[in-house]
Symmetry: C2
Subunit: 293 residues, 2 copies
Amino acid sequence: MQQLDYRPNAIAQSLASNRTNSIGIMVSELDGPFFGLMMAAIEQELRKAGKHVIITTGHSDQTREKEGIDFLISRKCDAIIAHVEAVSDEYLIEINQGKTPVYLISRYVEAIADKCVSLDNKMGGYLATKNLIENNHRDIAYVSGPMFKADAVDRLTGHKRALAEFDIPFNEELFFVGDFKETGGQQALKHFLSTNRSFTAIVCSNDEMASGAMKYAREHSISIPQELSIIGYDNVIFANYLYPRLTTITNPVDKMGSMAARLVLQDCYQLPTLAVEHLFTPSLKVRDSVYPI
Amino acid sequence: MQQLDYRPNAIAQSLASNRTNSIGIMVSELDGPFFGLMMAAIEQELRKAGKHVIITTGHSDQTREKEGIDFLISRKCDAIIAHVEAVSDEYLIEINQGKTPVYLISRYVEAIADKCVSLDNKMGGYLATKNLIENNHRDIAYVSGPMFKADAVDRLTGHKRALAEFDIPFNEELFFVGDFKETGGQQALKHFLSTNRSFTAIVCSNDEMASGAMKYAREHSISIPQELSIIGYDNVIFANYLYPRLTTITNPVDKMGSMAARLVLQDCYQLPTLAVEHLFTPSLKVRDSVYPI
DNA sequence: TTGTATGCGTTATCAA
DNA sequence: TTGATAACGCATACAA
């Protein structure tokens, strides 16, 4: 009878089997180079398993993140893959008691470690600063992201470790908390310049802020990298478009995305997975924005 | 009894009411600055109406685009919003006979004009070239996108119209078909340089290719915009990050996204909509990559 | 208005 | 193994 093209009704299947074959995705933003890559990887992995992806945004806001997750749960997703920043660890643990498992990307919560896929941001922060130090920089400014974000805290920790390893004191004057956006980088450089504290390099804890700093530098005739070296973080697409091309730390967000998808496939649908990996390692991507002195 | 928090089962609702409250979205790519904005706009509009969004990718490939749409239909989406490039007009008309309406973004198909939201690309192409001409450029090279894409064809048409309006002949030597990616821009400039035909400006039919051309120019010590003016198209986020900042044509992809979403809300869910608009108008965004001569 | 059956298109269970 | 039947949790239509 298939000749009269019979198509099973996915909704009826779901009602009867209690399985929707849909996975909820929660990201902070739909635009931005970061999440695009991540979602592309997730979607690709899931789609070839016949699953589909329902997408929601949280905008790094606690309320909206919770609403989004509620929404996905109410939609009876079989699982959720979330990149959340504002919500607490406790909430994530609690929500995972429910019947919908919530996997986390770019975040590590001890109690649900098997549901986390994260990047070793301490190592990334360490690598960035170490690269500068190995290029003989000693007076290094640091632009952090908002301190409520674990990523920002970890990257800073790595930075301090590199400093300590080379006996370089951490200087509060050369520390600035930005917003992970372009403006943050601009404000940071402006601030550093105003302290009259000299510095030869600046590590920005993401590429957007690095771009902002570069822009501010150009507007004030500070040549990069001759007068000031800059290193970013994330290796976002446009890092390669900037001039000079930005040296940065790779953030394999696509690999983390596929990994999370595969975990879901394995745990929720009993599909075989090759290797599982929970902690990803960043690496240094050398381009043109760091000069030795 | 709501105190014992009763939650309606969305699946059962769907089965009984024949309405899933889900809208399928089909885009070419999940990454890339273009689609991010578009999806963000769609999601925002739909989400506040309590609808949700199922996302699929087509990768500008005819088979995959059809598969994706089939997939969304089989998932019983109430409607589909698609940005498709490879599939034929006939197919789109035919698929719209079915019970799932599919709306088109950035594409105009006469027979289903009420389901189309598009950009006046002819006007955009015209504006770009006209701006160059008004800056006294006469020898203008043109980098097109793949000619199977309607966008590319229309932009080129606009370019030719501007040329004609000022009695400038179209020169095949200064015409190159790229891939809408960075490499396309690099190849194009390389090609133009090899013809020994002189030119003072180059219009790239999207910003990626403009970036590629700028990169190639820099590598070959051609200073922009002093020696060569460049104009792009789309006003993608990174156009503002490039150096020099790229003059370009705005493509209000976010507005088109919300418009498509509102059409769906209106047609499929009988929700009131303010003004409906089907054709959007691009405009010139002047930045730093065009110099008068 | 409030209440009660019936159907939605499957899966799963149990009997044959 | 095959075949009938009861959930699945709601809308909807109809009756009270």
